[in-house]
């Protein structure tokens, strides 16, 4: 019988501070479970970023460092390399928003992938700048209404969104790149398996691993939790397909 339990790597006194129905909580919980299963807690430094993901250290009971907006992959590079200079391999992963990873931080993100930096980046794609109140971001889809695209995203006026996982897969230093979603149990389990694989890529010292998580933002989408998940399942996955775009871990 499966009994619900709080993962060891979640702080016992942590309170859920995300909006109601937000997928951030699920994402953090499965990451914590994987950290427990791979026994990484005592050897990990996590990098949080600016955005709704910033409070990662309020939930995870592991060593955490906050990066300036967009710079998580550069900060993670420094952490990883510094410990290596002492002859120690730490497990280092980032937890970033889509704006953080793919807009302001695209340079740092992509160059970490190109260098084949042996870190793992997790990107919560909620198709907007959530924390600042739902502005149009690099992943906002065509027609999406946001506070800065009040008439809907339009290719002539705003240009195109980025398919982050596909782009990162193109970098030679990337060994694993995938997109997952959390809109039902089946997908949550699949997401967990995928993130675990990305973590193992780093543990095998193979290079850059990346997982983009299509994630709900009921507050800024102005939808209920259920309708947000429906939107992901029926609309977003058509534009942002769930797939593994690169897996050369065992090559």
């Amino acid at each position: 019988m499966q009994v619900y339990s709080i993962p060891n790597s979640i702080k016992k006194d942590s309170k859920f501070t995300f909006c109601k129905g937000c997928d951030h909580g699920v994402a953090i919980k499965i990451i914590a479970e994987i950290i427990d299963e791979l026994n990484l807690r005592e050897n990990t430094v996590a990098i949080s970023s600016s955005g709704c993901s910033v409070l990662l250290y309020d939930f995870l009971d592991i060593d955490c460092l906050e990066a300036p907006h967009g710079r998580a992959c550069a900060v993670a590079t420094g952490v990883k390399r510094a410990h290596r200079a002492k002859g120690e391999e730490k497990f280092v992963f980032t937890y970033q928003g889509d704006g953080d990873f793919a807009s302001i931080g695209l340079g740092e993100s992509m160059h970490s992938a190109l260098r084949g930096e042996n870190i793992t980046a997790i990107c919560i794609n909620n198709t907007n700048y959530g924390m600042t109140g739902g502005q149009m971001g690099p992943t906002s889809i065509m027609g999406q209404l946001t506070t800065t695209s009040p008439l809907g995203r339009n290719k002539e006026y705003h240009g195109f969104p980025i398919k982050t996982a596909e782009q990162i897969a193109l970098c030679e230093g990337t060994k694993f790149s995938a997109r997952v979603a959390l809109y039902d149990v089946k997908n949550i389990l699949k997401a967990k398996k995928t993130i675990k694989k990305a973590f193992e890529c780093q543990l095998k010292n193979k290079g850059f691993s990346f997982v983009e998580i299509l994630s709900s933002c009921p507050t800024n989408w102005k939808l209920s939790a259920q309708d947000s998940h429906k939107k992901i399942a029926e609309e977003l996955t058509k534009i942002y397909p769930l797939d593994i775009f690169k897996d050369t871990i065992d090559d």
Binding site: E42, I47, P68, T77
Partner: protein, 356 residues
């Protein structure tokens, strides 16, 4: 006996960094500091240390931020307009209390300016271009030998106070070769085990962050930083006095400009004029107290800089006497010539020293 060899300022800094155990370097090319990164690229790789040719200065300084969280000695180097790109992260590092040594070998600005010599980044370094109430320790060498000694001191102070330190170097000095000795690092290593991030093993987890949604806590945090800055201001001001004891005229200058000032001082001393030179070595904390003491005997304080008068305002803050404060400077290019400065000084002091 330790041999002196002909060393360029940039190489001296790089060698001193290696010599005192700097294990992480991050940079991006910009003249006139590129040789630091070029020299370290091979030396650090040979030793399996951390070296990344970053994608930008923003990348470099954020790698330094991450590396600093490991408690090791971390350095980045850059120049002027590119140091401007790093300001956001310096503010983070100050708030996070992470030790980073940043070398700025200055070029001329504003904007891209050019690679001409200038001391135009005094304000950028001492006031800082990052947001919020924070301070960066700033050290200013005036010789290649001092580049070595102040590199050691930068790493020491950075870890002692858990704060970013800027080594502010004149472009001229970075490029200039003169005899110097790679001395031993005189400072002890600081234990970083109480705060560094290296995995929550046999201890509670730690986190380092600057975000603080609770306003009381944020207030407390800044007040705590300011207690530290107060302690730095009390313990760390450093300066050089040259013939200041009986000086009626005090020249103030930092970096290599102080070398010219000493030569000029000698010139006036030969004519029986009681002149001295006061050279701040720590630009933050500025040695206000000592300058104030000296100024009570001085009729004239003459500040000389290769900029439009950036240190001048600290000189003004320091001097509480009735001394007349004047400024001689030029923003960019060939260093002010000895004769130019002498004539300018004569002009300033002619009423009191009519015989000159």
């Amino acid at each position: 006996m330790i041999e002196k060899s002909l060393l360029k300022g940039n190489i001296a800094i790089a060698r001193a960094a290696l010599n005192c155990g700097c294990s992480c370097y991050f940079g991006y090319p910009i003249t006139p500091q590129t040789e630091i990164g070029e020299f370290l690229s091979l030396e650090m790789q040979k030793r399996n240390l951390a070296y990344v040719c970053a994608e930008s200065e923003i990348g470099a300084i954020n790698m330094a931020l991450g590396a600093a969280s490991s408690g090791q000695k971390v350095m980045a180097s850059s120049s002027s307009c590119a140091v401007a790109l790093m300001q956001e992260t310096l503010s983070y590092a100050a708030s996070d209390e992470l030790p980073i040594v940043l070398v700025n070998v200055m070029r001329a600005g504003p904007g891209q300016g050019y690679i001409y010599p200038s001391q135009g980044d005094y304000n950028q370094a001492t006031i800082g271009g990052g947001n919020g109430d924070y301070k960066t320790i700033v050290l200013s060498p005036s010789s290649v030998q001092e580049c070595i000694e102040l590199t050691y001191k930068s790493f020491y102070l950075a870890q002692k106070y858990r704060n970013p330190v800027i080594l502010l170097v004149d472009g001229l000095l970075g490029q200039m070769a003169e005899p110097a000795t790679i001395t031993q690092n005189p400072y002890p290593d600081i234990d970083t085990s109480s705060w560094r991030l290296d995995g929550a093993k046999d201890r509670p987890s730690r986190n380092i962050h600057s975000l603080e949604p609770n306003q009381n806590k944020l207030n407390q945090h800044v007040l705590k930083l300011y207690q530290k800055y107060q302690q730095i201001e009390q313990s760390e001001p450093d300066w050089e006095e040259y013939l200041c004891d009986d000086a009626e005229i005090i020249l103030t200058a930092f970096g290599t400009m102080a070398r010219s000032a000493k030569a000029i001082c000698n010139h006036f001393r030969e004519q029986g004029i009681k002149m001295g030179v006061f050279r701040p070595i720590t630009l933050y904390p500025f040695p206000y107290k000592r300058l104030r003491e000296l100024s009570f005997k001085a009729k004239y304080i003459i500040d000389i800089e290769m900029n439009m008068g950036q240190m001048l305002k600290d000189v003004r803050l320091g001097v509480l006497s009735n001394s007349q404060i004047s400024f001689i400077g030029k923003p960019v290019g060939d260093w002010l010539k000895k004769e130019e400065i002498i004539n300018a000084i004569k002009n300033i002091i002619k009423e009191q020293y009519a015989s000159i």
